[in-house]
Protein backbone atom coordinates (compact mmCIF):
# COMPACT_ATOMS: atom_id res chain seq x y z
CA UNK A 1 0.00 0.00 0.00
CA UNK A 2 2.88 2.32 0.76
CA UNK A 3 4.65 1.88 -2.55
CA UNK A 4 2.37 4.17 -4.56
CA UNK A 5 2.76 7.32 -2.38
CA UNK A 6 6.50 6.65 -2.20
CA UNK A 7 6.69 6.38 -5.97
CA UNK A 8 4.73 9.61 -6.31
CA UNK A 9 7.11 11.35 -3.94
CA UNK A 10 10.13 9.96 -5.75
CA UNK A 11 8.69 11.10 -9.08
CA UNK A 12 8.07 14.61 -7.75
CA UNK A 13 11.62 14.84 -6.38
CA UNK A 14 13.09 13.59 -9.62
CA UNK A 15 11.10 16.00 -11.79
CA UNK A 16 11.79 18.92 -9.42
CA UNK A 17 15.51 18.22 -9.50
CA UNK A 18 15.46 18.00 -13.29
CA UNK A 19 13.55 21.28 -13.45
CA UNK A 20 16.06 22.99 -11.17
CA UNK A 21 19.08 21.48 -12.89
CA UNK A 22 18.09 23.02 -16.21
CA UNK A 23 21.15 24.53 -17.82
CA UNK A 24 21.54 28.30 -18.05
CA UNK A 25 21.63 29.87 -21.50
CA UNK A 26 25.27 30.45 -22.41
CA UNK A 27 24.87 33.16 -25.01
CA UNK A 28 21.99 35.60 -24.88
CA UNK A 29 23.40 37.80 -27.63
CA UNK A 30 23.02 41.55 -27.43
CA UNK A 31 20.03 41.32 -25.06
CA UNK A 32 20.72 44.72 -23.51
CA UNK A 33 20.97 46.60 -26.77
CA UNK A 34 18.01 44.85 -28.36
CA UNK A 35 15.77 45.51 -25.36
CA UNK A 36 16.72 49.19 -25.13
CA UNK A 37 16.29 49.58 -28.89
CA UNK A 38 12.78 48.12 -28.67
CA UNK A 39 11.97 50.41 -25.72
CA UNK A 40 13.29 53.53 -27.45
CA UNK A 41 11.12 52.69 -30.46
CA UNK A 42 8.05 52.87 -28.22
CA UNK A 43 8.82 56.50 -27.39
CA UNK A 44 8.99 58.28 -24.07
CA UNK A 45 6.38 59.62 -21.73
CA UNK A 46 3.40 58.19 -23.56
CA UNK A 47 2.22 56.32 -20.52
CA UNK A 48 1.75 59.43 -18.41
CA UNK A 49 -0.22 61.35 -20.99
CA UNK A 50 -2.84 58.75 -21.87
CA UNK A 51 -6.43 59.86 -21.32
CA UNK A 52 -7.12 56.78 -19.22
CA UNK A 53 -4.30 57.64 -16.78
CA UNK A 54 -5.53 61.23 -16.49
CA UNK A 55 -9.10 60.06 -15.95
CA UNK A 56 -7.98 57.52 -13.34
CA UNK A 57 -6.25 60.26 -11.32
CA UNK A 58 -9.21 62.56 -11.66
CA UNK A 59 -11.75 59.97 -10.49
CA UNK A 60 -10.07 59.49 -7.12
CA UNK A 61 -9.43 63.19 -6.63
CA UNK A 62 -13.07 64.02 -7.28
CA UNK A 63 -14.56 61.12 -5.32
CA UNK A 64 -15.22 63.15 -2.07
CA UNK A 65 -17.00 65.82 -4.11
CA UNK A 66 -19.02 63.15 -5.93
CA UNK A 67 -20.03 61.52 -2.63
CA UNK A 68 -21.13 64.90 -1.18
CA UNK A 69 -23.16 65.67 -4.31
CA UNK A 70 -24.88 62.28 -4.10
CA UNK A 71 -25.90 62.93 -0.46
CA UNK A 72 -27.18 66.48 -1.28
CA UNK A 73 -29.20 65.28 -4.27
CA UNK A 74 -30.65 62.36 -2.32
CA UNK A 75 -31.84 64.65 0.50
CA UNK A 76 -33.22 67.16 -2.00
CA UNK A 77 -35.00 64.46 -3.93
CA UNK A 78 -36.55 62.96 -0.77
CA UNK A 79 -38.02 66.38 0.10
CA UNK A 80 -39.46 66.63 -3.31
CA UNK A 81 -43.23 66.20 -3.65
CA UNK A 82 -43.71 63.89 -6.56
CA UNK A 83 -46.89 64.18 -8.60
CA UNK A 84 -48.46 60.92 -9.70
CA UNK A 85 -50.06 60.38 -13.12
CA UNK A 86 -53.52 60.25 -11.47
CA UNK A 87 -52.95 63.66 -9.84
CA UNK A 88 -51.81 65.06 -13.14
CA UNK A 89 -54.95 63.77 -14.82
CA UNK A 90 -57.17 65.36 -12.17
CA UNK A 91 -55.21 68.59 -12.43
CA UNK A 92 -55.54 68.62 -16.20
CA UNK A 93 -59.28 67.88 -16.14
CA UNK A 94 -60.11 70.47 -13.45
CA UNK A 95 -57.71 73.18 -14.51
CA UNK A 96 -58.68 74.59 -17.85
CA UNK A 97 -55.75 77.01 -17.87
CA UNK A 98 -52.49 75.88 -19.39
CA UNK A 99 -49.83 74.90 -16.89
CA UNK A 100 -46.13 74.61 -17.34
CA UNK A 101 -43.73 71.75 -16.53
CA UNK A 102 -42.53 73.69 -13.47
CA UNK A 103 -46.06 73.62 -12.06
CA UNK A 104 -46.23 69.85 -12.59
CA UNK A 105 -43.15 69.26 -10.49
CA UNK A 106 -44.42 71.71 -7.80
CA UNK A 107 -41.60 74.16 -8.27
Amino acid sequence: MKTQPNKKQALRKLLSLTHQEKESPTDLGPLHQNTMRAIRKLGAGKRTTTYFNRFEGLVWRLSPLAATMIVIFTVWFLNFELVTDADLFILASLETDEFSILQIINF
Binding site: Q4, K7, K8, A10, L11, R12, K13, L14, L15, S16, L17, T18, H19, Q20, E21, K22, E23, S24, P25, L28, G29, L31, H32, N34, T35, M36, A38, I39, R40, L42, G43, A44, G45, R47, T48, T50, N53
Partner: protein
Amino acid sequence: MAENSRDKSLGAKSSDAEIVKLVLNGNTDAFERLLKRYEHHAIGIVKKHVPTDRVAEVVQDAFVRAYQSLGNFKEAKRFKAWLSTIVTRTCYDFWRTHYRSKEIPLSRLSIEHQAWLEGALAARSEANRQQKARQQEARKVLEWTLAKLSAADRMVIELVYLEGLSHKAAAKLLDFSVANVKVRVFRARQKIHKLLLKGRGKP
Protein backbone atom coordinates in the same frame (compact mmCIF):
# COMPACT_ATOMS: atom_id res chain seq x y z
CA MET B 1 18.81 68.83 -20.38
CA ALA B 2 17.29 68.97 -16.92
CA GLU B 3 16.35 65.30 -17.16
CA ASN B 4 19.87 64.35 -18.25
CA SER B 5 21.45 66.19 -15.35
CA ARG B 6 19.03 64.47 -12.98
CA ASP B 7 19.86 61.12 -14.54
CA LYS B 8 23.54 61.73 -13.82
CA SER B 9 22.73 62.78 -10.26
CA LEU B 10 21.10 59.39 -9.65
CA GLY B 11 23.73 57.20 -8.04
CA ALA B 12 24.16 53.49 -8.41
CA LYS B 13 22.16 53.05 -5.21
CA SER B 14 19.18 55.15 -6.29
CA SER B 15 15.91 53.45 -5.50
CA ASP B 16 13.79 51.71 -8.10
CA ALA B 17 10.97 54.17 -7.46
CA GLU B 18 13.27 57.12 -8.25
CA ILE B 19 14.33 55.52 -11.52
CA VAL B 20 10.73 54.70 -12.43
CA LYS B 21 9.77 58.33 -11.79
CA LEU B 22 12.55 59.47 -14.05
CA VAL B 23 11.46 57.11 -16.84
CA LEU B 24 7.85 58.22 -16.50
CA ASN B 25 9.01 61.83 -16.82
CA GLY B 26 10.36 60.98 -20.24
CA ASN B 27 13.90 59.77 -19.63
CA THR B 28 13.78 56.45 -21.46
CA ASP B 29 17.51 55.81 -21.02
CA ALA B 30 17.09 55.61 -17.24
CA PHE B 31 15.23 52.31 -17.80
CA GLU B 32 18.58 50.74 -18.66
CA ARG B 33 19.49 50.93 -14.97
CA LEU B 34 16.49 48.79 -14.09
CA LEU B 35 17.36 46.44 -16.93
CA LYS B 36 20.92 46.00 -15.61
CA ARG B 37 19.71 45.62 -12.03
CA TYR B 38 17.09 42.93 -12.69
CA GLU B 39 18.30 41.25 -15.87
CA HIS B 40 19.71 38.21 -14.07
CA HIS B 41 16.62 37.89 -11.92
CA ALA B 42 14.43 37.85 -15.04
CA ILE B 43 16.70 35.36 -16.82
CA GLY B 44 16.53 33.13 -13.72
CA ILE B 45 12.75 32.99 -13.94
CA VAL B 46 12.49 32.65 -17.71
CA LYS B 47 15.11 29.90 -18.08
CA LYS B 48 13.02 27.61 -15.87
CA HIS B 49 9.91 27.97 -17.99
CA VAL B 50 10.87 28.29 -21.64
CA PRO B 51 13.34 26.44 -23.91
CA THR B 52 16.94 27.68 -23.56
CA ASP B 53 17.10 29.03 -27.11
CA ARG B 54 14.04 31.25 -26.51
CA VAL B 55 15.14 32.80 -23.19
CA ALA B 56 16.59 36.02 -24.68
CA GLU B 57 13.45 36.67 -26.70
CA VAL B 58 11.12 36.19 -23.71
CA VAL B 59 13.28 38.28 -21.35
CA GLN B 60 13.29 41.12 -23.88
CA ASP B 61 9.54 40.86 -24.30
CA ALA B 62 9.08 40.93 -20.51
CA PHE B 63 11.16 44.10 -20.08
CA VAL B 64 9.30 45.82 -22.91
CA ARG B 65 6.02 44.94 -21.20
CA ALA B 66 7.37 46.21 -17.88
CA TYR B 67 8.29 49.49 -19.56
CA GLN B 68 4.82 49.80 -21.06
CA SER B 69 3.19 49.10 -17.68
CA LEU B 70 5.41 51.42 -15.61
CA GLY B 71 2.47 53.81 -15.19
CA ASN B 72 0.74 51.13 -13.08
CA PHE B 73 3.73 50.59 -10.78
CA LYS B 74 2.98 51.82 -7.28
CA GLU B 75 5.93 52.99 -5.19
CA ALA B 76 4.75 51.03 -2.17
CA LYS B 77 5.18 47.80 -4.10
CA ARG B 78 8.59 46.30 -4.53
CA PHE B 79 9.76 46.56 -8.11
CA LYS B 80 11.35 43.10 -8.07
CA ALA B 81 8.07 41.40 -7.11
CA TRP B 82 6.15 43.49 -9.64
CA LEU B 83 8.64 42.59 -12.37
CA SER B 84 8.51 38.88 -11.41
CA THR B 85 4.76 38.90 -12.07
CA ILE B 86 5.25 40.43 -15.51
CA VAL B 87 8.06 38.00 -16.37
CA THR B 88 6.01 34.95 -15.30
CA ARG B 89 2.97 36.10 -17.28
CA THR B 90 5.18 36.66 -20.31
CA CYS B 91 6.37 33.04 -20.02
CA TYR B 92 2.74 31.92 -19.83
CA ASP B 93 1.90 33.97 -22.94
CA PHE B 94 4.89 32.40 -24.69
CA TRP B 95 3.40 28.94 -24.15
CA ARG B 96 -0.10 30.05 -25.10
CA THR B 97 1.23 31.29 -28.45
CA HIS B 98 3.56 28.32 -28.82
CA TYR B 99 0.83 25.76 -28.12
CA ARG B 100 -1.27 27.01 -31.03
CA SER B 101 1.42 25.82 -33.42
CA LYS B 102 3.10 23.14 -31.34
CA GLU B 103 3.95 19.73 -32.64
CA ILE B 104 2.00 16.92 -31.05
CA PRO B 105 4.35 15.04 -28.72
CA LEU B 106 4.78 11.31 -29.14
CA SER B 107 1.86 9.41 -27.64
CA ARG B 108 4.16 7.42 -25.36
CA LEU B 109 7.69 7.50 -24.01
CA SER B 110 10.35 5.55 -25.89
CA ILE B 111 11.40 2.22 -24.39
CA GLU B 112 14.78 3.74 -23.57
CA HIS B 113 13.17 6.57 -21.58
CA GLN B 114 10.77 4.20 -19.84
CA ALA B 115 13.72 2.08 -18.72
CA TRP B 116 15.54 5.19 -17.52
CA LEU B 117 12.47 6.29 -15.53
CA GLU B 118 12.22 2.87 -13.86
CA GLY B 119 15.83 3.14 -12.77
CA ALA B 120 15.54 6.74 -11.62
CA LEU B 121 12.44 6.03 -9.51
CA ALA B 122 14.20 3.11 -7.88
CA ALA B 123 17.17 5.30 -6.87
CA ARG B 124 17.77 4.83 -3.14
CA SER B 125 20.03 7.72 -2.19
CA GLU B 126 19.59 11.46 -2.77
CA ALA B 127 22.96 11.65 -4.51
CA ASN B 128 21.95 8.91 -6.91
CA ARG B 129 18.67 10.70 -7.66
CA GLN B 130 20.51 13.97 -8.28
CA GLN B 131 22.86 12.24 -10.66
CA LYS B 132 19.90 10.77 -12.54
CA ALA B 133 18.23 14.21 -12.70
CA ARG B 134 21.28 15.66 -14.45
CA GLN B 135 21.12 13.11 -17.25
CA GLN B 136 19.84 13.95 -20.71
CA GLU B 137 16.95 11.48 -20.36
CA ALA B 138 15.59 13.36 -17.36
CA ARG B 139 15.10 16.50 -19.42
CA LYS B 140 13.47 14.55 -22.23
CA VAL B 141 11.01 12.86 -19.87
CA LEU B 142 10.16 16.17 -18.17
CA GLU B 143 9.70 17.97 -21.49
CA TRP B 144 7.54 15.15 -22.84
CA THR B 145 5.36 15.23 -19.72
CA LEU B 146 4.95 19.03 -19.69
CA ALA B 147 4.12 19.03 -23.39
CA LYS B 148 1.11 16.86 -22.57
CA LEU B 149 -0.37 19.64 -20.40
CA SER B 150 -2.13 22.83 -21.46
CA ALA B 151 -0.22 26.13 -21.29
CA ALA B 152 -1.96 27.16 -18.04
CA ASP B 153 -1.55 23.73 -16.42
CA ARG B 154 2.08 23.68 -17.45
CA MET B 155 2.82 27.03 -15.76
CA VAL B 156 0.89 26.11 -12.63
CA ILE B 157 2.55 22.70 -12.26
CA GLU B 158 6.00 24.21 -12.80
CA LEU B 159 5.43 26.84 -10.12
CA VAL B 160 3.68 24.70 -7.50
CA TYR B 161 4.69 21.07 -8.10
CA LEU B 162 8.23 21.58 -9.40
CA GLU B 163 9.35 24.81 -7.72
CA GLY B 164 7.37 24.39 -4.50
CA LEU B 165 5.59 27.74 -4.49
CA SER B 166 2.37 28.09 -2.52
CA HIS B 167 -0.96 28.14 -4.38
CA LYS B 168 -1.41 31.74 -3.35
CA ALA B 169 1.99 32.84 -4.65
CA ALA B 170 1.45 31.05 -7.96
CA ALA B 171 -2.02 32.58 -8.29
CA LYS B 172 -0.57 36.04 -7.75
CA LEU B 173 2.18 35.52 -10.31
CA LEU B 174 -0.21 34.24 -12.97
CA ASP B 175 -3.18 36.44 -12.10
CA PHE B 176 -5.37 33.37 -11.52
CA SER B 177 -7.67 32.76 -8.57
CA VAL B 178 -6.32 30.50 -5.80
CA ALA B 179 -9.16 28.03 -6.43
CA ASN B 180 -8.28 27.89 -10.11
CA VAL B 181 -4.64 27.13 -9.26
CA LYS B 182 -5.65 24.39 -6.80
CA VAL B 183 -7.91 22.69 -9.32
CA ARG B 184 -5.30 22.91 -12.08
CA VAL B 185 -2.54 21.52 -9.84
CA PHE B 186 -4.75 18.63 -8.76
CA ARG B 187 -5.76 17.70 -12.31
CA ALA B 188 -2.29 18.16 -13.79
CA ARG B 189 -0.68 16.13 -11.00
CA GLN B 190 -3.15 13.31 -11.60
CA LYS B 191 -2.34 13.41 -15.28
CA ILE B 192 1.42 13.29 -14.62
CA HIS B 193 1.01 10.32 -12.28
CA LYS B 194 -1.14 8.58 -14.86
CA LEU B 195 1.38 9.24 -17.62
CA LEU B 196 4.52 8.32 -15.75
CA LEU B 197 3.48 5.90 -13.00
CA LYS B 198 0.40 4.01 -14.11
CA GLY B 199 0.52 3.97 -17.89
CA ARG B 200 4.32 4.28 -18.25
CA GLY B 201 4.04 6.69 -21.09
CA LYS B 202 0.58 5.83 -22.36
CA PRO B 203 -1.47 8.96 -23.18
